[in-house]
């Protein structure tokens, strides 16, 4: 299959030694197998995320994203802009919608961009990595490179909020998206299809500011995964991943629970299924070890038929 090229927008959390470093690592491995070339947008900046609202005014948050679009258009013309982080993708898409529907805002944004010697033309579509996988490849294609089906592992597909609402993945419902389950099955794992917390909010940024309230959310999300006899949770969102994984110890302290549910990225599942090593899959980047996945990763790949 021909090489596919995309302008890559990793976002602040998916940088080396950042909270979602392992997302970045596994994504690159996955893309290698799928023959996807991700070229980071030169000198990209933060999207502002949803949480910056109190500080950043509407226009200033808009121009942050406009700058990334402009950079992408200038340096990587004709390539779709692809984000792995839910917040980045949402922030970018919301901004793009405003820029493309509101002429006034667009003019203002460009006036500001001029200061940075840039201009937004509205040529570049903004997409999430999951969209790329499903729309540009499709489950069948994604299944082909599987050499190590993730047999014997049951995954609770935790979609969360911002990859799901308000835009979501085309053809999926807000209340009951199925693409994670489909991806899990594509790589030979078992999906916990009855997992009813799949779109529950983990508290997002409020995990920092409203710890108690967020941790209550996270507790439900994890416990419901246990109810479904899941071995681990899989998610497309770095903030979900971080929140749900790292606070389990805190929750255990507070509620006397014994939660130890690994939380992984779809990209890690695919990397392992494609024969990638623990390191290539970023499985060394976990606080709660996804042992079963690591075991498969450590097994030697079966000889190609």
């Amino acid at each position: 299959m021909a090489k596919k090229e995309y302008a890559f927008y990793p976002g602040c959390s998916s940088q080396l030694k950042a909270s979602a470093a392992n997302y970045l690592v596994s994504t690159s491995s996955m893309c290698k197998t799928l023959d996807i070339k991700l070229t980071p947008i030169p000198d990209w900046n933060c999207c502002g995320a949803s949480i910056s609202y109190a500080g950043g005014s509407e226009l200033s948050r808009l121009v942050l994203n406009a700058r990334n679009f402009a950079l992408s258009e200038t340096h990587l013309p004709g390539q779709d802009m692809v984000a792995t982080c839910a917040a980045c993708w949402l922030g970018a898409r919301e901004s793009k919608e405003k820029l493309d529907t509101n002429a006034q805002l667009r003019a203002d944004a460009n006036e500001a961009l001029k200061e940075a010697g840039l201009q937004y033309q509205g040529k570049t579509p903004v997409r999430h990595m999951v969209e790329v996988l499903i729309e540009d490849f499709g489950y069948a294609e994604l299944g082909k490179p599987v050499v190590k089906p993730l047999e014997g592992i049951k995954f609770a597909g935790y979609v969360g909020c911002q990859t799901n609402r308000p835009f979501g993945i085309a053809g999926e419902s807000f209340e009951n998206p199925l693409y994670l389950d489909k991806l899990v099955e594509t790589v030979g794992g078992e999906a916990a299809t009855q997992y009813e917390q799949k779109v529950t909010c983990c508290g997002g940024a409020l995990a920092f500011s409203e710890t108690e309230k967020s941790q209550k959310q996270i507790k439900d999300i994890v416990e419901s995964a246990y109810d479904q006899k899941a071995d681990m949770i899989v998610t497309p969102c770095p903030l979900c991943q971080a929140n749900v994984e790292v606070y389990q110890s805190e929750i255990n302290k507070k509620y006397g629970t014994k939660l130890a549910m690994p939380v992984t990225y779809y990209s890690q599942l695919m990397t392992v299924a494609y024969g990638g090593s623990t390191k290539e899959a970023g499985l060394d980047g976990h606080i709660i070890q996804p042992t079963k996945l690591q075991e498969i990763a450590d097994k030697p790949a079966p000889a190609k038929k």
Partner: protein, 207 residues
């Protein structure tokens, strides 16, 4: 009452709805609410809202300026967008909540102690400083927001998490000194400065 606040109240002589429409991001949508309450029921932290969105909208129409702007409620928004996708009138409720919060903050009417407000401000400061978020500074910044001792306490409480991330290679101690950043920081600053100017200009032209 901040100066800005006094002047605005005079300008609108108690027509708070119009004030919101003209000053709050997405504020022009408030009038379209039909009080079905689906937003209020959809919020993950709903139980912690003194006034859920639909009620805030009603209060705005009823001119309850003080009660709305000094409320804790909109700061409870986790940006999950449940309300947005379910609203039968397609109101961008998440945006309105952010807008109200940000407006309340601008007027100095937001609650004095509001961790989310603090975090939000920290985040903006942090990400615009270098163009990229410095996670360590962000977290520490938040902890030390209420002073040194408080910060150390919180930090201590969360030490396992910090250490865990550190072990996992997902937290970089050196970020404290030199973290991720953009090259063209000047450009970014200039750009943001311009944006601020433009917005100020617009405000004038609208009234």
């Amino acid at each position: 009452m901040s100066e800005l606040n006094t002047s605005t109240t005079e300008k609108y002589h108690n027509n708070f709805l119009r004030e919101v429409e003209e000053n709050v991001e997405e504020g022009e949508w408030v009038k379209m609410c039909m009080q079905c309450g689906v937003c209020s029921g959809s919020c993950p932290l709903g139980a912690h809202w003194a006034h859920p969105p639909q009620e805030l909208f009603m209060m705005i129409r009823a001119g309850k300026r003080e009660a709305v702007l000094s409320s804790d409620s909109m700061w409870m928004c986790t940006s999950c967008y449940n309300c947005v996708v379910r609203c039968p009138r397609k109101l961008p409720i998440t945006g309105i909540m952010h807008g109200l919060a940000s407006y309340a903050n601008k007027l100095g009417m937001a609650p004095k102690i509001q961790p989310t407000r603090d975090f939000s401000l920290q985040f903006w400061k942090n990400c615009t400083r270098t163009g990229r978020v410095n996670e360590l500074r962000l977290t520490l910044g938040l902890y030390f927001n209420d002073g040194l001792m408080a910060g150390i306490k919180k930090g201590w409480a969360m030490r396992n998490i910090g250490l865990g991330l550190l072990k996992a290679g997902r937290l970089n101690p050196f970020e404290l000194f030199k973290g991720h950043s953009c090259k063209d920081q000047q450009g970014i600053q200039a750009m943001l400065k311009k944006a601020a100017e433009i917005e100020a200009r617009r405000k004038h032209s609208t009234h």
